[in-house]
Amino acid sequence: MTHVKEKDFQQLSDVTVRFAGDSGDGMQLTGTQFSDTTAWIGNDLNTLPDYPAEIRAPAGTLYGVSGFQLHFSSTDIHTPGDTADVLVAMNPAALKKNLPDIKNDGTIIVNSDAFDVKNLKLANYDNNPLDDDSLSGYHVFEVPITSLTANALEGLPLSPKEVSRCKNFFALGLMYWLYDRPLQNTEEWIKSKFKKKPEYVEANSKALQAGHKFGEMTEIFTTRYKVEPAKLPKGIYKNISGNEATALGFLAASVKSGLPLFLGSYPITPASEILQFISNYKNFGAKTFQAEDEIAGITSAIGASFAGHLAITTTSGPGLALKTEAIGLAVMTELPIVVINVQRGGPSTGLPTKTEQADLLQAVYGRNGEAPVCVLAARTPRDCFNMAIEASRIALKYMTPVILLTDGYLANGSEPWRIPHVDEITEIKVDFRKDPEGFYPYSRDENLARPWAIPGTPNLEHRIGGLEKSNIYGNVSYDPDNHDKMVKLRTQKVKNIRNDIPDLKIDGEQSGELLVLGWGGTYGTIKEAVAKANNAGLNVSQAHLHYINPLPKNTEAVLNNYKKVLIPEINLGQLARLIRGEFLIRVEQLNIVRGLPLKVNDILEKITELLGGGNGK
């Protein structure tokens, strides 16, 4: 042990790592631990979990491969990385499935124990790729992870199966060694996680340490890497996923508005976690109602809103489809609710565990009748926190349903978040109507919002419902002119929100050749692509929409300042359609619908092409 050769340290500015293995191999956990530790030592980072729809598909199969990609750096970064520098492949299937996403000349660490005949066959390998030269373009390190883990745990009172389950911690320990990360964070996590199973604490910790030590001892690794902490603004940070940020945002909105939170929801991937997080906030008075279906989820929320709660409902595409009719009821009764739609691959059940941006037009238009709602979109995992608060603010102020769009990538991906103090978060003012004097349920304030008079308030007894209501008085009205007026009033109310939201901000030149306009989860990718293009001397700016209905007041002016506008989307051009229809502006599109985030490189190529470079027109 004393004879170990000192390894060289190489300094890197950023690294993309991918862990891949069977869905039973704990790769999501490994990835999360690596992320947390990496965040904790101060790197900026961005993650992309990628797991199959199957829970634990049979070991060794291609469709059972679960992956976790993580991009970390000493500078500001915004994407999980187009391709990985390093792949940890726990079996042949993991290698096969992930190889296309590894950089040429990249590093591959394989669990060589798993490359047996059976697994090779399950992965449809005719030859063992470790034995032929199919991996010659990579630096391949064969580590017998299974047996090394077993050696390390010898003598512990565990079944062979239990021992084998610890191998992900061995791999993690090795990667910690390779990238010079401390074990402490994960050791503590293990301790608290297996509080009730001390033998697991010991086993997993030992496996972790063994992996680390193996790096130290083995001859095969000659270099270690260092990635310095990023220079982030001062503050307390934590690593946060979009779903967690969304949950915290609504909790904050509840505290800041003084209204108890009500979440009516039905589980659906990738939105279920928000319900799971919020169900822990019982001591905030938050009520979570796991309903019988999505219709019940939103309808119970509408009831809770009527009763004076900050009422929200969470779902994903197919669930939003089911909520359509009830959203119309909220529009007609002008009650505040927030519908959170975590977009996933569609149509229909589609690709449940993958990301997409194809529910935008459903959110904007998908209801019977003229049923305008406010539509917002979060752009990064941590941004979900702010947008949850903003959605709540708008819903409560304008007595309107708001749809907040996130997506599978934002939901599951994570990044460091500078935590705001409670007093940095702005108050949300809510006034229940109390005064019976001159009360009419459909009278309107300066924002065209009607009064919120909740059951329990003396002398404000009134009736609302889905039939058309007379303006001001709120009685059922079949009067043709009243209907025309109300249809237009409801639309105007949502349009007016324009006056209450920030202008669309431009990153880069305020006018010029090309603007890349985006919305939602493509923010980071576009940002990196535009930065690269700028570095390459191209004249291109970025603007990214938080508000889609209504659009910011200056949107048209902004778009008109550029010769070309490019809208990259993970759909077939839904924002493009809205923008064209709204402003009659020609836009360029980039539409790649692969269930995955866009790649920086795809956007960069498109920019280059549009600016006459590359393989131009």
């Binding site: 940070y237 219709i295 809770a304």
Partner: protein, 345 residues
């Protein structure tokens, strides 16, 4: 929770529950009687101030009900009243939450919300206006229409069997199940009172005549010459007697209910099955629910079953109280800064 500034409950009169809206049902519709009995009994039923009362409905003739009550009201969308009501009640358990619904609204499109509300025992009162037809959409058959019924959508007769709403609610473990008839105001008043007094999901089915599209659906139970022989008034702890001259009774033969004559000396009241609203198992009530499957047996009205268990809204509220006690009142700063954090400076 109810934001009352005043706390005593005034002595209400029926008309205090009557809104300023004209009632728009067809002349002769059974809904009028239900409205009248509700308004008449509510001063007694409602133990709280009237601003704490909420009526919620779906869509249908019956679902117009909330407009006519001077309480808080929500005319929802078709089939969703039980879940809209659940949302209101869970949000504010201090409210007295009532649902007015039709056989189409509750049992066709709304069936799932209904059985789940029963199962969960949400403390709402569900009043079903069962006219065995779709009234508002002008006369299609409903899930309670008898097999073979000729309606606009079944010109050659329907081929499906109806739901038995009592049996369905019992199968979903409702904690209070009762039935009444629009043409028997006194009985209905009693049932409304019982419904209102129950803590937990209370289901009251009212046979309601739609004189436009299904006139006479319940005539054997309402017409003078037939009603006594076809209606069994359930009374707790009382033997089950019925008939014009109170001369017939129900006896249990094993698990099978049969009719016996108690006028000829062979059987007396002592031989009869005694009604027990509070039977621990649902068996007793289920036998009653199916009593008139056999057309020789009468149709029971009254309370089929009542039992008590924690309500859903109460359970949620208690859990919140418990967690607050255990963990302390939520502290946002703590939650935000909890978990794995690090400092950059």
């Amino acid at each position: 929770m109810a934001n009352n500034t005043e706390t005593t409950t005034p002595k209400y009169k029926a008309k205090d529950f009557s809104s300023d809206q004209d009632v728009r049902w067809c002349p002769g519709c059974g809904d009028y009687s239900i409205l009248a009995q509700v308004q008449r009994t509510f001063p007694e039923v409602i133990e709280t101030r009237k601003e704490n009362v909420v009526w919620i409905s779906g869509i249908g003739c019956s679902s117009r009900f909330p407009y006519y009550m001077d309480t808080y009201g929500f005319h929802g969308i078709h089939g969703r009243a039980p879940i809209l009501a659940s949302g209101v009640k869970i949000a504010n358990p201090d409210l007295s939450v009532w649902v007015a619904t039709g056989d189409g609204d509750l049992l066709s499109i709304g069936g799932n919300h209904f059985i789940h509300a029963c199962r969960k025992n949400v403390d709402i009162k569900v009043v079903l206006f069962n006219n065995r037809i779709y009234g508002l959409t002008k006369g299609q058959y409903s899930p309670t229409s008898e097999k073979g019924k000729v309606t606009k959508t079944t010109p050659f007769g329907s081929v499906d069997y109806p739901f038995n709403p009592i049996s369905l609610s019992l199968g979903s473990d409702a904690t209070f199940v009762a039935r009444s008839i629009d043409r028997n105001p006194k009985h209905m008043q009693e049932m409304i009172k019982r419904t209102g007094a129950h803590k937990g999901l209370a289901f009251l089915e009212i046979f309601q005549n739609c004189n436009i599209f299904n006139d006479g659906a319940f005539s054997v139970l309402t017409e003078k010459d037939t009603k006594d022989d076809h209606t069994l008034f359930l009374e707790n702890d009382k033997p089950m007697v019925f008939g014009k001259n109170q001369d017939k009774g129900i006896k249990l033969d094993g698990l099978k209910p049969i009719v016996v004559d108690i006028s000829n000396g062979k059987y007396s009241k002592d031989d009869l099955w005694v009604h027990n609203e509070f039977s621990v198992s649902p068996t007793h009530a289920i036998i009653l629910a199916h009593l008139d499957d056999n057309k020789d047996l009468p149709t029971p009205v009254g309370v089929f079953r009542q039992y008590f268990k924690e309500t859903y809204d109460g359970g949620i509220a208690n859990q919140i109280k418990y967690v607050k006690e255990k963990k302390g009142e939520g502290d946002l700063e703590k939650v935000l800064f909890g978990g794995n954090t690090w400092e950059v400076d």
